[in-house]
Structure formats: C-alpha cells, structure tokens
C-alpha cells in the first residue's frame, strides 16, 4: 500500500520491519519523531534516555545481549554519544545496532551545521544515507543486516529535509514483522572488554573490517550508477541528489546510498567514463576530498556552497557556473519590504515569562542553555549572554566564578530547563558544589521537554510508551547533591519569582538553586480557566506590560493624557497566566470568566 510518510516515520517503520527490540533516544530536532513513531509499534521497547550517551550505551547493551537495537539523535547529540560510538566501533556488536544521526544543514533548530559524515570516517564505521522516505524505510533493514554481517555499529544519516519531508512509500502488506529470537551472548572479554591490551588487539580488526566493507560497497545496490550524457558525471547523495537530479537532468549520476566507506573502484570507473566529475554535496567537501585524494580531478565546493542547506536555486546556480544551461529565473518581483518580522516568542501562558522579565529587570548576566527559554535572548527580555549546548549554562558560570568575575553588579546566573538538567546539568552542578562555587542556578521546571514537542523525561512521571514511573524530584536531587539553599517558587507568581531570585543572588558565599515550577502551556493539566482583561479607564499606556513579551497583549488606542497606546488583551490568545496582571502598577488588568 502506498502511503505518504515523513523520513522519520519511514525510519521507524523500517526499524520495526527489521525486528528492532530495543530503541533509545533523547529528543532533538529533526530526529524526535523517530522514537515517537517507533514506540507505537508492537514488539519494541522504546525509551527516552536522559541524554544521547546514555541512550547509546543502553543500545549497546541491548545489542550485546542479542536484540536488534536502535539509537536515534540529532547531529549534536552524536557529540554527546561519541565516546560510546568509539568504543562500539572497537567492540562491535552481537545483534544488529543502528545509530540514526539527523543532521541539520541550515541550523534550523540547532547551534551549528556540523556534518556527521565525518563521524563515520572518524570512528571507522559504515554510514548509509537515504535520499527519500522509501529509502529511509528500506535502508533500515539493510543497516541492521550490514551491522550483523560485519560486526559493526552502522550509522544512518538523515538531514532535516529527509527527516521532515514526506514522500510516497510502498508499505509492505500486513505488518511484515518477523519476531527475532535473542542471539545468545557469548562471553568474550577480548572483544567486549576494552582494556588497553584488548583495545590494541581490536584496532587491526577495525581496520580490516573497514577494508572489507569498502570492498562490499563496490557492488552493494546502495550505490548506483545512472548513465546519461557523459559530459558531466554527478556524484551525490541524500537530498542534494534530489536537487541535482532535476538540475542536471539527462547527465550521468553516481548516487551514493553509502557515504562511508566509499566504493573507490566504482568511482574510478565512473570518473573514467565521464568528461567532468562534479560532486554535489551539502556541507563539507566529504566525497570531494576523498575523490581528489585518489587523484581524480573532481569539482565541488567551488560551485556549491559549504554553508547552509541546498535548494533547487542553490544547485542551479552552481550548474549555471559549470555551463549547464538552466531555465532563467522568473522575473523577480521586489521583496515586500513592509513585511514585518515574526520572531519566536514565549507562548501566552508560558511559565518562563516571569523569570526572563525578572532577569531583564535585575540586569543579571545569564549563562543560557538549550530549550524554549533561549527565546530569553530576544527582545523585550534581552536576558541571555551565552548559549552553547545542552548543560553548558551551569558549567559556564563556574568558570566565570573561577576567574573572580561573578561578583557585585556583574552577578551571573545559570538558566536551565528540567529535561536539560537531567541531560547534562547534574554533573555540572556537582562541579559547582565540589569546587566551592558560589553561583546561582535557575532550573525552569515546566514538567516536560517542551521545545521538541512535550516529550516525557525523568522528571515527568511517565515513560515514552505511556507507563507511569517514578517521578524524579529535582528539589530532592539538588538537596541530595549538597545544595543547602534551594528555593522552589511558583513560576506564575512574578513577585515571588523576583523576590526569590534577589534572595538567591544575594547569597555570595555558597551556591544556590532556584527551581521555578510551572507547567508548559501545552500540557493537558495546564491550570487557567479564565482570561485577563484590561480596564481601559485605569490603563494609562505606561507600556510596562509590553515588557513581558506576550503575543496576547496588543497596543490599542492612545491614552488622552500620556498619548501612549493602552494595552488590549486578545481573548482568543490569553490563558490568564496573570504575569501582566501582577506587574501592572495601576491594577488595570483583572481576571474575567471565560
């Protein structure tokens, strides 16, 4: 049956059809939906791990113990899991083990544009790259087989345009799923216990394996030559192939379904038959460098950029420079200059609003972290000074402290969410406590992993597959680690948030933690049953409520005296979080029944 599936849905289906028994992941755009979909299939235990490294270790265990296993993560997640990837490259697997790396060219939802094909070369493991949803489903089965055939972890790399695009997939009838018995685990310390002596003995195994896989790749159906006009021979993969297919219509193609190791003989033979080899690849010149290192003249990055994701227009521009005639672009109409920006904003009712209003008001320095609260860097809050990666906030403030800069008016705080705290915040907090730090850490606990779409985490009391579980209490964790001054405050009580943060940062000789608790507005138990309204008589246009950055508050008519716009609240958007009500100096905002 033909169905329209996203790359992520197709990967989940492919993993199910390949008989995956265990899967683990940490949510991260554009990879999140893979586990969400896989969790709904029978016969698999699918879990959210606190971070990607933990996920991959668990997946290693599942594979060692004989069940096919899948870890999925966004590209930067593989940085976190990389230590596990590197030992897995040496130990190999028992049952098939596949890692999904969902890259993000264009950095649509990420802190960088790293090209994770480099990890395949770095860790010396094979990597497959589907170019649409059909291949995404098909390649999963191949990846598991390849993993078992060569005793290696296999990475399947997607990009945002593969994971989040939908295309037609021929779905096998029935559920097509054959349950697989566990492969027995045979005790084999020389293979699975990477003490230095064993690691030294495994290294030649890894090198030999890579050569064998490269040989296998020469005839693997994953890599395909499509002959056409031999004036140009295009080498490409993933979504770049799809753009190239339209732009270089009629020319010869070598489509790589396996981005590492590369089929050298196949590429040499292809190159020998075409006049000019053109490599069309997003991000790094990965294929290009390999091909040129073999002494084959090939062009790539002189024509196709290293930056940003590709599009038809980008690939067309390169083709034009190469002398391939392209349809002239439609006459440009001037961009509409009056279109105004739609910056991301905290949702009406967001529990983070009060904290960032206060951080701006108190002029604190803020080490930020990964989550919706990154919006705090934007106006009207302008309350974030650094942001790097998951968990970095708490590490960064300790260093600020370490050079003596966290004093007086230059007081720094770390801001981190609940899921991010479990991910990588806890070791950093241990660092502060152990090394006599005096920073204040704000944990914004909205009871979910909000930014990626409200996933469960160790603090929510529910698993990915909907089972009730122990809800880890962040306050108890922090106290247990040794923080004495822990302040828990209602995030929907702005005066309390303000007083609490002031109190915490005033403590200068020991570390403090503030936990601002309030559910994400998208959670079903989000409380408000009212809306807020502005009393147009009392409002004098002081504009203070515009400083909470709420999409529900609009500028209305001008006040006769101050000649400034009064506030108006959109009843369709307001959920009565009351932050504007609490800060209004004229008590002009009040609750009404909804």
């Amino acid at each position: 049956m033909k169905r329209l599936l996203s790359g992520n849905e197709a990967i989940a289906l492919g993993a199910h059809l390949a008989g995956v028994k265990y899967a683990s992941a940490y949510p991260g755009t554009p990879s999140t939906e893979i586990l969400e979909h896989l969790a709904k299939y029978p016969g698999v235990r699918a879990e959210w791990a606190p971070n990607e490294k933990v996920a991959l270790d668990a997946v290693a265990g599942a594979s060692y113990a004989g069940g096919r296993a899948l870890a999925s993560m966004k590209h930067v997640g593989l940085n976190v899991a990389s230590e596990s990837l590197f030992y897995l490259a040496y130990t190999g697997v028992n049952a098939g083990l596949v890692i999904i790396s969902a890259d993000d060219p264009g950095a649509w939802s990420s802190q960088n544009e790293q090209d994770n094909r480099q990890y395949a070369r770095f860790a010396k493991v094979p990597m497959l790259e589907p170019a649409d949803s059909q291949e995404a489903m098909d390649y999963l089965a191949r990846a598991f087989d390849l993993s078992e055939q060569f005793d290696t972890p296999v990475i399947v790399r997607t990009t945002t345009r593969i994971s989040h695009s939908k295309s037609v997939v021929d779905v096998p009838a029935g559920n097509g799923h054959e349950p697989r018995a566990l492969k027995a685990f045979a005790r084999d310390g020389a293979k699975y216990v990477m003490i230095p002596a064993n690691a030294r003995r495994r290294h030649p195994v890894v090198e030999a394996r890579l050569k064998q896989i490269a040989e296998w790749a020469e005839t693997a159906p994953l890599n395909q030559i499509e002959w056409g006009d031999k004036k140009f021979g295009i080498v490409s993969s993933s979504v770049a192939y799809q753009y190239a297919r339209e732009v270089f219509d009629g020319y010869s193609f070598l489509k790589l379904g396996m981005s590492y190791p590369l089929p050298e003989k196949m590429i040499r033979e292809f190159a020998a038959q075409v006049e000019r080899v053109v490599v069309v690849e997003e991000l790094d010149p990965f294929y290009e460098e390999h091909i040129r290192a073999w002494g084959i003249p090939a062009v790539g990055k002189e024509y196709f950029p290293i930056l940003n994701e590709f599009s038809l227009a980008v690939v067309r521009e390169g083709a034009r420079k190469l002398g391939v005639p392209q349809p002239e672009p439609a006459p440009a109409s001037p961009a509409f200059q009056q279109a105004i920006a739609r910056p991301p904003a905290f949702c009406p009712g967001c529990p983070h609003r009060s904290t960032f209003y206060v951080l701006n008001k108190l002029k604190l320095r803020v080490a930020g972290d990964i989550g919706c609260y990154a919006i705090g860097v934007l106006p009207p809050f302008n309350a974030m000074d650094t942001l790097g990666c998951m968990g970095a906030s708490i590490g960064v403030v300790q260093g600020v402290d370490g050079v003596g800069a966290n004093v007086g008016k230059e007081r720094w705080v770390a801001v981190i969410g609940d899921s991010t705290f479990f991910h990588a915040g806890m070791p950093a907090l241990a660092n502060i406590i152990y090394n006599r730090g005096v920073s204040t850490v704000l944990i914004l606990d909205n009871d979910t992993t909000a930014m990626t779409g409200q996933q469960e985490n160790p603090g929510t009391g529910t698993t990915l597959q909907g089972q009730p579980t122990k809800k880890i209490d962040i306050e108890q964790v922090v106290r247990g680690m040794g923080i004495v001054d822990v302040f828990v405050v209602d995030a929907f009580d702005e005066p309390a948030v303000e007083a609490t943060i002031k109190k915490a940062v005033a403590i200068a000789d020991r570390p403090t933690v503030v936990i601002a608790k309030g559910p994400c507005v998208f959670l079903p138990d989000y409380p408000p049953k009212y809306i807020d309204e502005v009393d147009a008589v009392k409002c004098n246009g002081c504009s203070l409520c515009f400083r909470v950055g709420c999409p529900a508050i609009f500028k209305g008519e001008l006040d006769a005296k101050t000649e400034k716009p009064k506030a108006v609240i959109d009843p369709l958007l307001c959920v009565a979080c009351d932050i504007c009500l609490q800060i209004c100096p004229r008590e002009a905002i009040y609750r009404v029944g909804n």
Binding site: L4, S109, V168, P334, F336, A339, P343, A374, G549, I553
Partner: protein, 192 residues
C-alpha cells in the same frame, strides 16, 4: 498532469501543516507522485510556517523554487505578500484575509502593513488573486478552526480537481464528529 508546485504559508497554529499533508495526499489520490517539505522546531514558536508540496509524474526535489510556484495558499494576510515572490507569473494566490499581528508590532514599533500595500504587491505579480474570508466563514459555521478547510475548498476550485477526491482525503484526516462541519467548510470554500 504536469508538475504542479504549491506553497502553503501562515503562522504557527493555523493548521498549515495538516493542510499541506492533505494537498500532497490529493496528489497521490490523482495517481501522481507527491512530496512535501517543511521545517518544524524552534523557528515555529509564534513564527512563520511555510510548507512546500509538489505533484508530478516523478518528483525529485521536495521543495519548489522561488518564482516557480503555481499555487500560493496564504493562511494569513501579510504572509501572502511576504511569499508572493515565490509565485510564478500567472500563478494563483489564495489569501485568507485574517491578520495575525506579530509581537514586533503588538509590543514593538513595527507596523503591520495596510491592506492596500498588500493588495498592490499581489496584483503586481499575478491577476489571479483570490481573497477568502476563511476565519469569518469558519466562525459562521461555529468553529474557527475550520478556516484551513475553507481555504482548501478555494484551492480545489482553482485547481479544477474533482471536489469528491479532495473530500475523500480530507474526511480520512478528520475525527468523525468534525466530518460534517469540515465538509460544509470545504463547500463554502468552493463557493457552493
């Protein structure tokens, strides 16, 4: 049918992504290859949503290109003007008259452009500008969430596709209790 490129644009929460799923599936129902592509995640917290859909005998790239889109379906007024440069000359733009004021204007100093400015830039690109009072029609049917179905009706009319094929796809995506009102909204969009 030759290749047909669609671009659906609006603001997070308007149902743009569901609508683009439906357009892609209608393509499949017509026996064509179809792809669609969009971005989820950070940029969508109150931000712009744009989703590409392509139909054809065989579709390779998941996104169409600037200046080559056949049908622009704008769920929000200003977004129609922001994206109209993607439309090819002579393409059709279907515009919901609904305004969603961004934070940059509601709390900041930016000014939402006047209707005339938007109309001008649309007309400069094409004669086929179709305005739809999607939100008003939806409210009239008692559910403001039906606006995107009204727009799909208008698109079906412009495409000249058998409405029943569109409705078949639509009905499968909608929970049973909303089927009837969605059908009504769709026919309102068609103009019946």
């Amino acid at each position: 049918m030759n290749k047909t490129d669609f671009l659906l644009v609006g603001v997070g929460g308007q149902g743009v992504l569901t609508a683009s799923d439906i357009v892609a599936e209608v393509g499949m129902a017509l026996g064509l290859d179809a792809k669609k592509s969009e971005i989820h995640g950070f940029s969508q917290r109150g931000g712009i949503v744009d989703s590409h859909v392509r139909w054809g005998a065989r579709v390779a790239a998941p996104m169409g290109e600037k200046g080559n889109i056949d049908y622009l379906l704008a769920f929000e007024l200003m977004e129609s003007a922001r994206w109209v440069e993607y439309l090819k000359s002579g393409g059709a733009v279907i515009v919901n008259r609904q305004r969603i004021i961004p934070l940059s204007a509601s709390a900041g100093d930016a000014v939402y452009p006047p209707d005339e400015a938007i109309a001008q830039v649309l007309c400069a690109r094409t004669d086929r500008v179709i305005y739809v009072d999607g939100l008003e029609i939806a409210k009239g049917l008692g559910n403001k969430n039906l606006a995107n179905t009204v727009l799909l009706g208008a698109l079906a009319r412009e495409l000249g596709v058998d409405p029943e094929i569109f409705l078949d796809v639509l009905v499968k995506r909608v929970p049973q209790k909303y089927v009837e009102e969605n059908k009504q909204a769709f026919w309102k969009g068609i103009g019946k």
